[in-house]
Amino acid sequence: MKTISEARGTLVTTLADDWGSDIATLKGVPWGKVMMWVFLVSDTFIFTCFLVGYMSVRMSTIEPWPNPSEVFALHAFGVSVPLLLIAIMTFILISSSGTMAMAVNMGYQRRKKAATNLILVTALLGAMFVGMQAFEWSKLILDEGVRPWTNPFGAPQFGAVFFMVTGFHGLHVSAGVIYLLTIAFRIRRGKYDESDFEIVEISGLYWHFVDLVWVFIFALFYLW
């Protein structure tokens, strides 16, 4: 048992020791996975705050809320298809969730090559999603004149909510792409060869969470 003065000498070591001492309340769950879950729960609170804020402004405004299915309609094949780009983005994100789930599976089978490739496909789909979002933003900002404080369609809060919610989600996807590329690179370098490749499951949790948040944004912001 160390005294406090002894512990002070090695401050950083004690911090690492205390937090890393593996007091297994959550049995059979790797430490990193617990940390990822705790982070995701806190992130849930952040996104809920955004969505509740959105609910509040939308419920309390007395100007009509812009109709998302018209605002986000896209002209294709000579007709205006409602929410076309958003639907494509949704399917891309679901596809990426599927490839990520397969990567986790391959990782646990120790099929490194397959896992790495599936992670790279996931990251590519994520990058496509961000690219489409950038296109959507530029269309709304430059062509339609949507601003956080005004827009030509109706209630001015629409712009603030749109940029805040989709921007924060897009930031998560971008961070996820970088995270996945890092993990893929490190798997290829053999950094996890000693382990059971639970790192793929941990990074997968983050990626599925990003998809999960999109489910709520799609339903509550775009469809409602």
Binding site: L26, W37, F45, V52, I62, T90, Y108, L205, F209, L223
Partner: protein, 124 residues
């Protein structure tokens, strides 16, 4: 970590859920062609919960985790419903005040008109 850790499941279940997610997403998208009303909102919420459930339960492996981890992850978000309830009351009040004092209320399609709003509206 030891050999027992980690979620190992047959690939089949992932493929089935993947397919289901595509199907539910398509159904979810199709709600956009319904009029804004009870059925549209019910179906949006139904498909949203279904999709979220599939992702959390299977892709994030929650259904195979022990109750200790399930409760750490799933209980706090449920408490957020209290915040949703409080903010519903608050924004309802804000709206009724705006109608009372600014009057220019346009019967928007955004939200169903609440009873209090009608009650608070000044007689023409």
């Amino acid at each position: 970590m030891t050999k027992e850790t980690g979620q190992r499941h047959p690939i089949r279940i992932y493929l089935v859920v993947w397919g289901l997610l595509f199907l539910v997403s398509a159904l979810s998208y199709s709600t956009d062609f319904l009029d804004r009303g009870f059925w549209r909102w019910t179906l949006i919420l139904l498909f949203m919960v279904l999709k979220a459930g599939f992702i959390v339960a299977v892709f994030m492996h929650m259904r195979w985790e022990r109750l200790a981890l399930m409760s750490v992850v799933l209980v706090p978000p449920v408490l957020l419903m209290v915040l949703v309830g409080l903010m519903t009351i608050e924004s309802d009040y804000t709206r009724s005040m705006r109608i009372e004092h600014f009057e220019t209320a346009i019967p928007g399609e955004a939200m169903p008109v609440v009873e209090r709003e009608i009650r608070n509206r000044r007689p023409d």
